[in-house]
């Protein structure tokens, strides 16, 4: 709709057809006043620190600077160069990429499979299952990570006791460098899959029924319907879920912090955990700030890549 003709010069007509208030006067003042608290808080306590962090990452801010801020020196990209020369950094980056690109896809797959089951026509007590599967999502991560630490205990833990029923020998889940990371991923998937499940169920309910009926008339089998009807219809939901889930797995922290402290042999050490240790245990705040920005860059690249892949797929379809 175009701007109104014959309307008083100070006012324009917007899409709703209502008179627009001028950019000054009581409404504008009220708008500014109402937006101000949020905007000010977010600028000062979020954007401010982010910019400050960008500068910090270019300095040698360390434990001495904490006592005497004047000793801080500008060292350009020194912290970044330092990170790229450290095996600990590459190790944490590699593990973080495993969390993000092995853990997140497994998590999304579990959510989708569970959503398909919960949403199936013959499923009874749907709200009950939805609520039960969602319950771990609302629990406190630190608390359930501690619970799982005991579940994984090699001698008295329920996981080994359960697996022993199937003749699987005892594993020291959190003490063995080969098993600690998969064990943490199982906890993470258990904790989070209910969230995406809800989103998938909502997406499934938006798939037009006629599409399924048409496919059935064409004699499509269940998996063909899933592949040719359900999955393409879910594409936008799928993109949203995978982008947000990958971002979350990039930021994994409390799980290794509580369960393994990044060990054994640093086999579960994530970038955020490395950042926390460097920043708040060793007080290398400049270096830790650089690690945070590297994580930010990696997340941006991964997110852009997923969106680009999705667009290409859409164009191909």
């Amino acid at each position: 709709m175009s701007a109104g003709v014959g309307v008083a010069p100070a006012a324009a007509v917007d899409a709703g057809g209502a008179k627009r208030a001028p950019l000054a006067g009581p409404q504008a003042r009220a708008g500014l006043a109402l937006a101000l608290p949020s905007v000010a808080l977010i600028l000062v306590f979020f954007f401010g620190p982010v910019l400050y962090g960008a500068w910090l990452s270019l300095t040698d801010f360390d434990i001495y600077a904490l006592a005497d801020p004047s000793s801080v020196r500008f060292i350009g990209l020194g912290n970044y160069a330092h990170a790229f020369a450290e095996t600990d950094f590459w190790n944490a980056l590699r593990i973080t990429l495993v969390y993000a690109f092995v853990g997140a896809p497994i998590s999304v797959a579990v959510s989708l499979a569970a959503a398909l089951l919960v949403d199936a026509k013959t499923t009874r007590w749907k709200p009950f299952f939805r609520a039960v599967y969602f319950a771990p999502v609302v629990t406190t991560l630190v608390a359930v990570a501690i619970v799982w630490r005991y579940l994984y205990q090699p001698q008295y833990g329920l996981v080994n006791a359960f697996l022993a029923k199937f003749g699987i020998p005892r594993v020291d889940w959190l003490g063995d460098p080969h098993w600690a990371l998969p064990a943490i991923l199982v906890l993470a998937v258990w904790k989070n899959f209910g969230y995406n499940l809800l989103i998938f169920v909502a997406g499934l309910q938006n798939v037009p029924r006629e599409l399924h009926e048409a496919a059935e008339l064409d004699g499509a089998r269940a998996w063909q319907k899933f592949w040719n009807v359900t999955l393409p219809e879910l594409a936008p939901v799928f993109l949203f879920v995978s982008v947000t889930t990958v971002i979350n797995y990039f930021q994994l922290f409390a799980e290794p912090y509580v369960m393994t402290q990044g060990g054994p042999l640093k086999s579960t050490n994530s970038l955020v955990l490395l950042m926390y240790e460097q920043g708040f245990r060793w007080w290398r705040l400049g270096y830790a700030a650089a690690l945070a920005f590297i994580l930010f860059a990696v997340i941006l690249v991964a997110t852009a890549a997923q969106m680009w892949l999705q667009q290409r797929r859409e164009r191909a379809a």
């Binding site: 008179k19 208030a21 619970v147």
Partner: protein
């Protein structure tokens, strides 16, 4: 209502999945009621040989978990109220009131959602150190005072408030503040309920920030207290499980009661992309 074999298998799988999902939580509850040492026997027992509340008593007497519980409650309640106030005001302003710089500011706020929270964390710590807010309730609360997600959520709902409703109030001589309080706020009831549940649970469960900003165990929130407790009491399985129950139970109960609002928030979050 007979189930066919396919449907039977489907429902059986779902029940099995549901059991596996709640099993860790049920075991947590069960182990918290076991006498000291029972959880560390082989094969691991599923139920207490004798139900005891001694671990809960110890947590709340010797180990001062009541203080952490109160800290968590304080931070979550105040943070939730603050977010409700700031987000309802800003969400309405961004939806309905024209002011200079509105679109640019809103776009700027949205970019905040792209930046991982950890990026601002270390420098925020240094800033709060200068302000003397390290190891204070105020320091823990800072990230919970305003919310981009909250503004976004409220804005979406506020956009649906009819312009005529606001304009007729203006013609009747109502001031902008009065309009916000007596017309806008009542219309935002449901979305604010959703936001409240969301913020309360996130702040209750938050770990990294309180871990960074708090150093005195009398100010610890429950997750931080729990993580520090497990360092000293790693052998005391039953005690630790009681601590986990105390931490998890309030949010689980809240979820069961307010499911509807929480699930709405999840759905609203899913369209923010």
């Amino acid at each position: 209502m007979k189930l066919r074999p396919g449907a039977l298998i489907l429902n059986a799988v779902l029940i099995g999945g549901a059991f596996l999902t709640v099993a860790p939580l049920l075991w947590m509850l069960s182990a918290s009621l076991m006498p000291t040492g029972q959880a560390n026997t082989s094969p691991p027992p599923l139920l207490p040989s004798r139900v005891t509340f001694e671990h809960y008593v110890e947590l709340f007497t010797h180990l001062n978990l009541a203080q952490s519980f109160a800290n968590s409650l304080l931070v979550s309640v105040v943070g939730t109220l603050a977010t409700l106030v700031t987000s309802s005001m800003a969400g309405y302003a961004f939806a309905k009131l024209r002011f200079p710089g509105r679109e640019a500011l809103f776009r700027l706020l949205l970019t905040a959602m792209l930046v991982p929270a950890q990026v601002g964390m270390l420098p925020l710590f240094l800033m709060l150190k200068k302000l003397g807010l390290v190891n204070t309730y105020g320091g823990v609360l800072i990230p919970w005072l305003a919310s981009v997600f909250g503004i976004f959520l409220v804005r979406q709902v506020a956009q649906a408030i009819p312009e005529d409703l606001l304009n007729s109030a203006r013609l009747d001589g109502a001031g902008e503040w009065r309009i916000y309080r007596s017309i806008v706020l009542p219309n935002l009831g449901p979305v604010l309920a959703t936001l409240a549940v969301f913020v309360f649970m996130s702040s209750w469960n938050d770990f990294l920030w309180p871990l960074v900003i708090l150093s005195d165990d009398r100010r610890y929130t429950l997750p931080v207290a729990l993580a520090s407790l497990v360092g000293e009491h790693v052998q005391d399985t039953e005690l630790m499980m009681a601590g986990a129950v105390v931490t998890v139970l309030p949010v689980l109960a809240l979820f069961v009661v307010l499911q509807r609002w929480y699930i709405r928030g999840v759905m609203a979050g899913s369209v923010k992309g």
